[in-house]
Amino acid sequence: MTSPALQARGLRKAYGALVVTDNVDLTLASGCRHALIGPNGAGKTTLVGLLSGALQPDGGRIALAGDDITDMGAHRRVKQGLVRTFQVSSLFPAFSVAENLYLAISEHAGVTSSLFRVAGRQRLLLERAEMLIERMGLQDDAYRPVSTIAYGKQRLLELAIALALEPKVLLLDEPAAGIAAAEAGLVLDAIAGLPADIAVLMIEHDMQMVRRFATEVSVLVNGRMLMTGTPETVMSSEAVRAVYLGRAGR
């Protein structure tokens, strides 16, 4: 039996007396589409931070395809195939869309230690950037500075950068949040079109998104994993409804 794409066991994180992540187990199989839901303040972003390496856990282990990465720094985890996107886009605002992508592609290709090749002549890398731009539908904005393009396109670019890194595990933090309905379609299509063999964990508040994309759902409440199951099981569960009391499951 092959190891799951990502496995976390007994993750714990506390800030003084405040326990933000309480003995959390999480398993992501290759190709899964796993939604992480829970009320505000449940600790979802912290959990993703622990998985991506932005935060150090106080306890527990994390394994990527069977290899223990608990002590690995965030940028090394990226090299191992664990990529994360953010709720608030972090891009290079002065550079164009194409340049943003090029940076990710060239880093992933490992050429950035090269001092004497000419970046503008790396045909393969430039072609790869071109392909990604077309695949994500960013052609119209390819050469405009990121600060000038629509917010929805920026979120799309964030996703494109993540894909440029050829991840094995992708952690998405509310990928479609805050995007105007008219632009959301592109992002949703992109998520639907994610490679079938990568494991995707999605933090979501929008139940429609969950129903549309997720094959499994985990519910996090007060730092503890309440339950994990298929979308139908989770959404019809009494315990989950009680937690979301007052919120009509959209």
Binding site: F95, L115, G120
Partner: protein, 324 residues
């Protein structure tokens, strides 16, 4: 295919006409103003220093106010290498540059974890510490009197260092030409592109897997190496090393040249150097401090109007005139 022409970041390898203008002018100066070769040599050396400073601060985004330190280290090393008997110039300059680069490589992992104001202060502080130490350690540096008593053996075995300064001039020009294109190549490389990414958003670069600290240390060391060579050239052509090579003045000169020439381009430092040095030379003969006024005003204007420096503003002004 991605249209490179539309990407400033990916076309740094392109040739720009101001570069050609500079080299032609530099050669022309030899024929037209042979009596000014001494100051022209100084201009070339300062230009080289400015190019190195631009690599660190303009392309890598390393906010350092202490870059003169490496110029000084290069100068004293070159002086000592010659004093100890090794008077071959090219290898002496190369060795001095390497030593400066090694110092930067040692300091880098500590300094470059800092950004912003703390980095500015520490680089300034380190530079001042070394200046004070050099001042006190007169057995090593000659203190206020400086390091003297060394002469360089003929360049490449054939060209004597005449009092007329031709050898010195072309020696400096040769180094400037080679190192300018080396730095340009570095900036145009995937490494250089990722440096500029680090400058724009270091956090984002880490998120795509870049080891930002390592890249910054390498860039800092390369920049220090070039600055060290510039310092060595100064020592070799003046046959003298004074404390001034370590002073804040050197750093400020370099910084102003980089800013006035346009921080975003390498050739800006080339164009900026002669303009700045000549204005400084003549204005200081008029009144030493009035020109500070002019420089201060220029700095403020340039910062307010964008990174293109005076050259960029001139180009923008020209474009505006053409459009009318």
């Amino acid at each position: 295919m991605i249209r490179i022409a539309q990407s400033a970041l990916l076309s740094r390898h392109r040739f720009h006409w101001p570069e050609a203008l500079f080299w032609l002018a530099a050669v022309a100066v030899y024929f037209l103003f042979p009596q000014y070769l001494a100051i022209a040599t100084t201009v070339l050396i300062v230009a080289l220093f400015a190019v190195s400073y631009n690599l660190a601060i303009g392309f890598a985004g390393i906010l350092t106010l202490g870059h003169g330190l490496f110029f000084g280290i290069g100068a004293y090393c070159a002086g000592w290498i010659a004093l100890l008997g090794w008077t071959e110039a090219v290898s002496g300059a190369l060795a001095s540059g390497i030593i400066a680069a090694l110092v930067a490589g040692a300091l880098g992992p500590f300094l470059l974890r800092l950004t912003g104001l703390p980095l500015i202060m520490v680089t300034l502080g380190v530079s001042v510490i070394v200046y004070e130490a050099a001042n006190k350690a007169s057995w090593l540096t000659g203190g206020d009197d400086g390091l003297t008593g060394f002469t360089m053996s003929p360049l490449l075995g054939a060209f004597r260092w005449s009092v007329f300064g031709d050898t010195k001039y072309f020696y400096a020009l040769g180094w400037l030409f080679v190192l300018f294109y080396a730095v340009k190549r570095i900036v145009a490389s995937p490494f250089g592109v990722s440096l500029q990414g680090i400058r724009e958003n270091a956090l984002r670069m880490r998120l795509i897997g870049t080891s930002t600290l390592r890249h910054l240390v390498i860039a800092y060391s390369l920049s220090a190496g070039v600055a060290g060579v510039a310092g060595a050239l100064s020592a070799q052509s003046n046959a003298f090393v004074g404390l001034g090579v370590l002073g804040l003045d050197m750093t400020i000169d370099g910084l102003v040249i980089v800013v006035l020439g346009g921080i975003g381009t390498l050739y800006g430092a080339l164009i900026g150097a002669p303009v700045y040095m000549l204005v400084k030379h003549f204005a200081q003969q008029w009144n030493p401090f009035y020109w500070m006024f002019v420089v201060g005003a220029l700095l403020i204007v340039v910062v307010r109007f964008g990174r293109g420096g005076l050259l960029g503003m001139a180009q923008a002004g020209l474009a505006w005139l053409i459009r009318r």
